[in-house]
Amino acid sequence: MKSIQIYDPAMCCSTGVCGPDIDPVLPAVAGMLHQLAGHGVHVERYNLAQQPVAFARNPKVRAVLETGGTAALPMIFIDGELELQGRYPEQPERAAWMKRAREANTAGVAE
């Protein structure tokens, strides 16, 4: 894994604490991204309310938004491929991604 891009729905903040109730997956995802970055993965995260230009510039994101509306958010791309849409990764998925990142990192060192 070299890169991950997350296109969030319009949110006040990336951990979701600014809503009337917290979605526990959000802090977990934020933490995972932080760790991925620590393994050398290039992390980009865009919030519709804050960085709309990033959404508009990405043709894939625009295409999915046109058909699926904002229910298709979040969209998560790994190495440029759309990996997940409409929800955040559950614990097993997060673990699998972390594993991929560690392996890629180790492989990179071995080369």
Partner: protein
């Protein structure tokens, strides 16, 4: 104590470039700020008057429709004025972000962005952004003096404290994943915020004038502000005591009580009053509206000023209105529901809520009295007696601590340190307190299912923010329900507030021009949110009181047109009246004295 004070005209001696007037609502800070700005301009100094108060009545005082851009005030050379409307500022900010995306993103995405940028956070941030422009940025222009007629104290403090919190946040935030969502577009201006904070602290650049009346609650508020601003490093502070009363008939019972109350308030705060320069302005027979009256305020000695301000000689009598006890008789049979006392800060919402709660409890109802007023006047109003009610305070600081603890407790025990650090960073955001208070408000309203809940709400602007937040959260629920669960209290909040059989909004006002007009504006805002006020309450009416004291009697006569205006033009339902009382509205007996229509 012997009060060492100077006439209010001396307030401007050695005035620095920036002057802030702050104080509890209804103490006359708009009048004094306007008079000060006019006096500065008439000494040949180019002066700008800036209103940042969401409930500003500067338009009325100056006879000029204020805009976001500075306008020359008619009838005055060198004087300019403008109004920073937080809602308009937020709308402009929203458009700056969303506008360029039109045609580039689908309509649904644009709507979602707009919703997210409609919250309380965006409004505060946008208003603060404009505010700082005058302190360090281009807005200051070539003005010799900039006079701020600031918002009620809590709001002012938040604006000022935020500038520090944000500066700290920008300096310390290393995660690169900022939670300060709506701030993202402003981050490039961080040097401007830092500069604004520095300007506020420099005594040769900035003076803060605390405006107060010689009344207990107003002086306590002033003392709190003085302390909090002092802790923020703002050293150059003065106090203007407005409405200083010197009786012509010391034997008149109303004069005597008025004077006693004034002396007691002064004695109680003697330490505070010795700590900073004091200026006094006399109690006048009518409000300061119009340029001639404003001019007299700073220019003439006190004795001459009293004659310069026109006395209302209309010999009309006030319409006979029922008292609070009759309102309690009407409400009691329902046995449950939410009663909200709303109005501009300083009109007595807390006192009215406490008195009505007491009356309902005396009629055998189950009553919970609760306050979201950041200044927490409830304990003051009630003394030690609970009068058979449950009393609860929504303390913003405590609510925030509890909310943060709750959020952290929800996280898995093995949460990695990075995730926890990030979450804690987000919980330091200015939004967190708004959310915490909102949740407490929703919780309290839900308790109205089991008995009466009487809530005195926060000052007008804050109240509207709460209601606005309520609505935007409801919109958000529709969107987020697929991922999160929400408490029943929050989901049912707006339907409950809109149900006339459940929620009764009482608009509280004083029988004076500005409070009446602001209550009318509040009513219009409530109606936009599909909430219809149940009744109006005219508090502290001097019109119904018999006194020989000329200035007080004149003030009583001056009230009559405003009482008529409420009855004839504003109230759709009944209007109740509470006469000015010679008993302090503190404790059970004091509050009970407000219920009956006797003086």
């Amino acid at each position: 104590m012997v009060l060492h004070s100077q006439p209010v005209g001396r307030l401007l001696d050695g005035a620095p470039r920036y002057l802030f007037f702050t104080g509890k609502g209804g103490v006359g800070k708009t009048s004094i700020a306007s008079a000060a700005a006019l006096a500065l301009s008439e000494s040949g100094r180019r002066t700008l008057l800036v209103s940042t108060d969401p409930a500003s009545n500067l338009d009325e005082v100056l006879g000029l429709e204020l805009a976001r851009e500075a306008r020359a005030v008619p009838g005055a050379d060198h004087l300019f004025a403008l109004n920073i409307n937080p809602e308009a500022a937020a709308a402009a900010y929203r458009e700056k972000v969303v506008g360029p995306m039109r045609g580039m993103l689908p309509e649904a995405a644009l709507r979602e962005m707009e919703e997210q940028l409609s919250g309380a956070c965006t409004m505060e941030i946008a208003a603060f952004d404009e505010f700082t422009a005058f302190l360090g940025g281009a807005g200051a222009g070539d003005y010799d003096h900039i006079v701020f007629d600031t918002a009620p104290t809590g709001h002012t403090l938040r604006l000022m404290a935020l500038s520090q919190a944000w500066t700290t946040f920008f300096n310390e935030n290393t995660s690169g994943n900022s939670c300060l969502g709506p701030l993202a577009g402003l981050e490039k201006q961080r040097s401007l915020y830092a500069e604004a904070v520095e300007v506020l602290k420099e005594p040769e650049k900035t003076r803060v004038v605390l405006v107060s009346r010689a009344q207990r609650a107003a002086l306590r508020e002033a003392r709190r502000t003085w302390k909090e601003l002092g802790d923020l490093g703002i050293a150059n502070q003065s106090l203007a005591l407005n409405g200083w009363f010197e009786p012509a008939h010391a034997d008149d019972p109303v004069s005597r009580h008025w004077l006693e109350r004034q002396s007691r308030a002064i004695d109680e705060e003697s330490d505070f009053l010795r700590s900073l320069p004091l200026y006094r302005a006399p109690l006048l027979p009518s409000n300061l509206i119009g340029m001639d009256v404003l001019r007299a305020f700073f220019r003439y000695p006190e004795s001459a000023m009293e004659t310069a301000v026109p006395v209302n000689t209309a010999e009309a009598s006030a319409p006979a209105l029922p008292g609070l006890d009759e309102l309690a008789d009407r409400l009691a049979p329902a046995g449950r529901g939410v009663i909200l006392t709303m109005g501009k800060g300083g009109v007595g919402k807390t006192t009215v809520a406490a008195a009505l709660g007491l009356a309902l409890a005396e009629r055998g109802a189950n009553v919970r009295l609760s306050t979201t007023d950041p200044a927490a006047h409830l304990a003051d109003a009630f003394g030690d007696t609970h009068g058979g009610m449950d009393i609860e305070r929504i303390d913003p600081k405590a609510e925030t601590r509890a909310y943060v603890a709750e959020v952290l407790a929800q996280q898995p025990a093995d949460m990695d340190p990075d995730s926890r650090a990030l979450l804690e960073e987000d919980l330091r955001s200015p939004c967190t307190e708004e959310i915490a208070v909102f949740r407490a408000f929703a919780r309290t309203v839900a308790k109205g299912e089991d008995g009466f809940v009487v809530l005195d709400t926060a000052p007008t602007g804050h109240t509207l923010l709460l209601l606005d937040a309520t609505q935007s959260y409801h919109r958000e629920l529709g969107r987020q329900s697929r991922t999160t669960k929400h408490s029943e209290a929050i989901e049912k909040l707006l339907p409950r507030l809109r149900d006339p059989g459940f929620t009764r909004v009482l608009l509280v006002t004083l029988p004076e021009a500005t409070p009446v007009h602001e209550a009318a504006a509040l009513q219009a805002d409530l109606r936009r949110a599909e909430i219809e006020p149940y009744a109006w309450i005219i508090n502290q009416s001097m019109a119904e009181v018999d006194t020989r004291e000329p200035v007080l009697a004149a003030r009583g006569r001056a009230e009559v047109p405003y009482i008529r205006e409420v009855v004839d033009s504003h109230a759709a339902g009944p209007v109740y009246s509470i006469p000015w009382s010679t008993v302090d509205p503190v404790g059970r007996d004091g509050l009970a004295s407000l219920l009956r229509a006797e003086v």
